[in-house]
Symmetry: C2
């Protein structure tokens, strides 16, 4: 069998790679991915061949990677964060049906919920839900339903893709839904450029979250009813009596 | 300020550490943690001092680590998976109020939802909820409410702590709740000893999940309505048309 690896490289800085991800990248001949992430990889693995495609070119990228792997090349597809969470792993597996000689292995990475949480403190210390606000492939009604359900059951919530140029008001819409269930004082956190140059964090109440500046490089955290601020950190207690 | 690091070491094998976690562990003088995880660390960092406490000794462990850090020692508290997700980060921050000279930094790690997903394929390819079935510090009613909410909103679900000796029937109870909302054919996955010796995985329908063998080293995944099996892998599609 030919091997194809799909590798989560974490939020950006090389230091977020796992040792396994580093090994697999070093061993590969071809690194495939979205322009931005391949450029991150190029800095450290300049001796490789690269397959680079732009945004919304995911299927083309997967085809090229699977094709190269089926010809016996050692191929790595890189994703930011984790390869499975809103990443390429699932799409590669589905498209891999047409490439029966290629075996696909997922190499886990630090997804934004985890890396962003570490920047804010410990906001995901209890049960949590990860929800993407992108409606490119998911109807908004489904997103709205999940937001309402997560808020009503007092989950901590991590929002991926909270905004883009086209979707500048989506966080506002999400906040309206959350505020139907949650108190306006609920502690929230916003992290931009996690683990990259220009990293910024902000902790604020849910009542002010809609006005926060967010873009496609931002991850948003909404606490549960127990979340608090401890010495400037956002902390959701597990339940220990202190 | 004295620095104390709380470090997620991933599911077990050294290769799941991030480069940053490895650096912080190497730089530390004292490594503190639960017996099992400290023993994993001892294999690679035998030159360190160790603070080891058993299960349910979390507060004692944190006090000892904070005390050592406040005396100027370089201390690392290690957690399995990620330090923030059902880990020690939040507790350390709350207890750290009494140690104003100690600054606490979280080093992100690969939590079981991410590492277990990679073993199964790509089960968390869409919005997901992480829920712990441990009712040591959370009332069962709250857990049941979250299970029902996540299932009703068609989240993928990852269950932490699905069973212990005392709680041998909890997965059964959870499945009863899930089956009120989800089809019995819903694809599920079970992974035991993720990234360690004796790793085992199983993919099965929700109707059979209650009978699966699980213990405190097992992580359970319940797909959403779109989850399928692709060449033996559990895959939740993001929504691309293949």
């Amino acid at each position: 069998m030919n091997q194809l690896y799909v590798v989560g490289i974490g939020p950006g800085e090389y230091s977020f790679l796992t040792l396994e991800a580093e090994r697999v990248l070093k061993d590969s001949e071809i690194i495939a991915g979205y322009t931005v992430y391949v450029n991150l990889a190029k800095r450290y693995f300049s001796d490789k061949e690269f397959i680079v495609t732009g945004m919304r070119q995911e299927k083309k990228r997967c085809h090229m990677a699977l094709e190269a792997a089926s010809q016996g090349k050692k191929v790595c597809v890189v994703c930011s964060g984790d390869a499975g969470v809103y990443g390429m792993a699932g799409l590669l597996m589905e498209m891999g049906m047409a490439y029966p000689t290629v075996e696909i292995t997922v190499v886990a990475g630090i997804t934004a919920a985890i890396s962003g949480a570490a920047v804010l403190g410990a906001p995901l210390g209890h049960d949590f839900a990860a929800i993407s606000l992108s409606d490119l492939m998911t109807p908004w009604e489904q997103i709205a339903k999940r937001l309402a359900a997560a808020a009503a059951a007092d989950f901590c919530i991590c929002l991926y893709n909270p905004a883009s140029k086209r979707r500048s008001d989506y966080l506002h819409r999400a906040c309206r839904i959350l505020l139907e269930q949650q108190q306006p004082e609920t502690i929230c956190g916003v992290v931009r450029n996690i683990g990259r140059e220009g990293q910024k964090r902000q902790i604020l109440p849910l009542s002010e979250l809609a006005a926060a500046e967010v873009d496609m490089f931002t991850t948003v955290f909404i606490g549960n009813s127990q979340t608090k601020v401890v010495r400037g950190q956002m902390v959701t207690p597990r339940g220990y009596e202190i």
